[in-house]
Amino acid sequence: MTRRAAAALLLALSAVSCRNPQRASSPATGGDAQNPEAPDRPEEKGVPPEPGRPQIPASPEALLAPGAVKEIQRTLTDRGFLGAHRAGELDDPTSRALRKFQESQELAATGFPDRETLQKLGVDPERAYGREEGADSD
């Protein structure tokens, strides 16, 4: 009887440890502090790029060229829309600042730097999306 109870206890402990990966990770307890509740990481990058086909990213950060977020943040700061933020990351303050700017320009306040928003910010969309070479094709 005691051996059976010990086995059950062992199984219960194993069950608890097996269930841990499914639990909500908390910023307070570590884990992915940037995006604690994001689903599987491989989905972030979207569809792998193929020659001659457009890039199909799953997140706004992946759509923008390296350095584009910093340029957007600099422009937003210069215009007084953005205060403290994490440089180079499309974080909450940057997204909020973009929304404020979009509202001021009577654009849809999505918090995403779409073409119209970039043009009104004075940021070249072709450069921000990393398509400077393709811009001359038409």
Binding site: R4, A5, A7, A8, L11, A12, S14, A15, C18, R19, Q22, R23, A24, S26, A28, T29, E37, A38, P39, D40, E43, E44, G46, V47, G52, R53, P54, Q55, I56, P57, A58, S59, P60, L63, R99, Q102, E106, L107, A108, A109, T110, G111, F112, D114, R115, E116, Y129, R131, G134, A135, S137, D138
Partner: protein, 381 residues
């Protein structure tokens, strides 16, 4: 010389007169065309307050557009309305020989009613509005902008008529399969935010390949801080319990490559609790069991009782006529429904037919199968 000057002046005067006449005739002409298109919408009735044409910025606007669905017995149901829909052309692209247009929708509202009767409105009809709007403009759309939009979904198949209300929608859709987008090899980009019920902050981002033979897209969505009591009517219509406290967060990532769909939904319930939705011992027992199961599955972060799970998204999109944007919106809707169902799947937990031993309960808890959760045990006789 004098005769030549006179001829030139007459020609210029005639041209000016023609231009003025054309401008004067433009408004009635566009009004007539708008009425004709609205009258041609099958099973629907459309009306509007005014049509404005601007030669200055190459645009025309419909003010106070209202489209109603004609139900059985001629009953008109609200379907789509917009305070102002503006259709404009990009002058720069026109100079380059590309007819590229933009739609701005100010305060649009779409009402979808799901009913048992297949003839009634359903979510699958949503693209009709898009096609109808596109028919109003004689050119291809490259950018759609929505400001302060609303989407109301009513489940008329249940007597409680539960509603899901997505409002304060701000969204953009850029780079359709126009020559401009194709020549630049750009993806179609969808970005939107809104509020679900009264408290849930929703954000969505997705991109799609407009050239792919089979649907190819990727994206992510997020719902934060939705207070569960706001879903009480919806949950009560499906179960005898109603959430009386707690919050729901949800993340989704998805991608479809050449029609193959994959991704995941992660609903997280925080501090959730339930109450019986109806009188009687049955609903009270279910509520107690639900609270017990939420307690069992909650994590141990101090000050928070969160229950999380990850639901895989898998499948294929075979329909060759399927379009990326309606498919993405369908995936998001299904993900929310599945996430909500799975998040609340312990309401109530399945009940074992007969009392199970500790070993059997532990085996269920260890099983990798999602439906093998521990079961509520029948009481002692």
């Amino acid at each position: 010389m004098r005769r030549g000057t006179k001829r030139l002046l007459v020609t210029l005067a005639v041209l000016a007169l023609l231009l003025v006449a054309a401008r004067v005739a433009l408004d009635p002409l566009v009004t007539w065309r708008t009425r004709k298109i609205l009258a041609g919408m099958d099973g629907m009735r459309g009306r509007f307050q005014d049509v404005q044409v601007s030669v200055h910025d190459l645009s025309y606007s419909i003010v106070g557009l209202r489209i109603e669905k004609l139900g059985a017995g001629g009953v008109a149901l609200p379907y789509f309305q917009v305070r102002k829909a503006r259709f404009g052309l990009y002058f720069k692209e026109l100079v380059r020989g590309n007819v590229v247009a933009v739609i701005d929708l100010d305060k649009p509202k779409l009402t979808l009613v799901s009913a048992k009767n297949q003839q009634d409105q359903g979510v699958e009809e949503a693209p009709e509005v898009g096609w109808g709007l596109e028919a109003l403009a004689p050119f291809r759309m490259d950018r759609v902008q929505v400001k302060d939009g609303e989407l109301l979904w009513v489940d008329a198949s249940e007597p409680e008529r539960p509603e899901l209300w997505l409002h304060r929608i701000e969204g953009t859709l850029e780079n359709f399969a126009t020559r401009k987008a194709l020549s630049k090899n750009e993806p179609t980009v969808l970005a939107a935010r809104g509020v679900l019920q009264r408290s849930g902050a929703v954000s969505v981002f997705a991109t799609a390949d407009p050239l792919a033979k089979k649907l190819t897209f990727a994206g992510q969505g997020r719902l934060e801080g939705l207070k569960l009591p706001e879903l009480a009517t919806l949950v009560t219509s499906k179960a005898d319990v109603a959430p009386d406290k707690g919050e729901l967060d949800m993340s989704i990532r998805f991608r479809a490559e050449d029609g193959r769909l994959s991704g995941g939904v992660r609903p997280i319930l925080k501090d959730a609790g339930t109450k019986p939705a109806k009188d009687g011992i049955g609903p009270k027992l279910k509520s107690l069991l639900a609270d017990a199961s939420l307690e069992i599955f909650s994590d141990d972060v101090p000050g928070r009782d969160a229950v999380a799970t990850t639901i895989p998204i898998q499948g294929t999109v075979h329909d060759p006529k399927a379009q990326a944007v309606p498919t993405i919106l369908g995936i998001l809707r299904n993900a929310f429904v599945r996430g909500l169902q799975d998040g609340l799947s312990g309401l109530p937990p399945p009940k074992a037919k007969e009392k199970e031993g500790v070993m059997k309960q532990a085996r269920r808890a260890l099983s990798p199968k999602r439906d093998a959760q521990p079961r509520a045990q029948p009481g002692e006789k």
